[in-house]
Symmetry: C2
Subunit: 207 residues, 2 copies
DNA sequence: TGTACATCAGTGAACGCGCGTTCACTGATGTAC
DNA sequence: TGTACATCAGTGAACGCGCGTTCACTGATGTAC
């Protein structure tokens, strides 16, 4: 991490970014409670009061992490989808696998994003809610396309979306909390196995 | 909660239980970080040092909550299964719904049980691991029975189990973190809708 | 290009706080005789 | 049934700690002229 060395410039350059990175490190190491403004500042090589130039308080730092997380998740789901152009089922599956991969690659982001909905955190941040809705929309749109083309069974679209979301979310949560036995294969294998099985079940079969 | 009043007996009666209950309250209100030995003691109507007569330290209180959670979960899954004797698919579905219902009824237990696997917590508590394995076994056994009877498609049993677990776990996590839109119905409706859809997909269909 | 000055982004001392844990203590309880 | 005494389960003062936040400050930067 970008700890400043003696002799570095008085101004940090991008302290805001460095603080977010330090926050992610701390959360990854010790859970969300492990995040401390003072320790984040320490890791960024800066005084404990410096963060107040960039975040009005600790909650705002957490909010920044959250927001960044949703933006990254959305982007990665889109990218995964683009890699499967022309195959709607593969697209929606890929975006699900991307969701799981995101959680595994960035457990700290994931925990903050989907952690308990405590009052201060949910402080009606419209941008944040828009970001999370956009990620969800990738899933819903993909499923809708599949259904329209007769590749997924008929039925309430929201029900399919909810089930698919729950499945990838649950897989992600179990993986990052170390609850999946090692013998069940690597992370990507598990992600693919679960997603494939789920969508086999969603498939409309020849009558 | 059972706060002692002035004039109550010097001895509490069941301080151990009262502390666990207070811990659950605190976690439900403010998340796992909100748990404090001192506040738990306060709520139990006792001095901040009294808990040390029942738990060697804070981690042991958390461990007690965890263990109790796994035992309760296991019991509730078994009870749900027994309510559907004779119908293996209904049994496995009922145990899944029970898993979700448990999380919704006892979010504090659920969070502690499946929270980040931090070093001290995972302190190889054999009883705990046995308890969690027993809950998982209810699912695996149920699925195996269904497969044996030709009610669920053929294929790697562990894959079905992992997918089913992920789905109910994800549903539970999304519900207790307030991420499921209210318009999607009540908690039980969501639990049933997701479980039903999942097992429709698992079903072996007439060739 | 050089200088004056406003603004920005840090510093470091200080605050009050609640926490986990320890310790010597004391009141309540239960058991042996 | 009564008493002596060990044990148990509390008390409350004390410890050291790290936290979030504030504040007056100062060094660095950039802009107007």
């Amino acid at each position: 991490m970008s700890v400043r060395r003696k002799g570095d410039a008085y101004h940090h350059g991008d302290l805001r970014r460095a603080l977010i990175d330090a926050a992610l490190e701390l959360i990854a190491e010790q859970g969300v409670d492990g995040l401390t403004l003072r320790e984040a500042a320490r890791r960024a090589g800066v005084t404990h009061s410096a963060p107040y130039r960039h975040f009005t308080d600790k909650a705002m730092l957490v909010a920044a992490v959250r927001r960044e997380g949703f933006e990254l998740l959305h982007r990665q789901m889109l990218e995964a989808r683009e890699g499967c152009a022309g195959d709607p089922v593969a697209q929606v599956k890929a975006s699900g696998v991307a969701y799981i991969a995101f959680a595994v690659a960035r457990p700290a982001h994931f925990r903050v994003m989907f952690g308990p909905d405590l009052p201060e955190q949910s402080a009606r941040d419209e941008v944040l809610h828009a970001a999370s809705r956009r990620a969800y929309a990738v899933l819903v749109d993909g499923l809708e396309a599949c259904q329209r083309l007769g590749l997924v069974r008929d039925g309430d679209l929201r029900r399919f979306a909810m089930t698919a979301w729950a499945t990838v979310h649950g897989t992600a949560a179990l993986l990052i909390n170390g609850l999946v036995p090692r013998r069940d294969g690597g992370v990507t294998e598990v992600a693919r196995a679960v997603t494939d099985l789920l969508y086999e079940g969603f498939a409309k079969r020849a009558p």
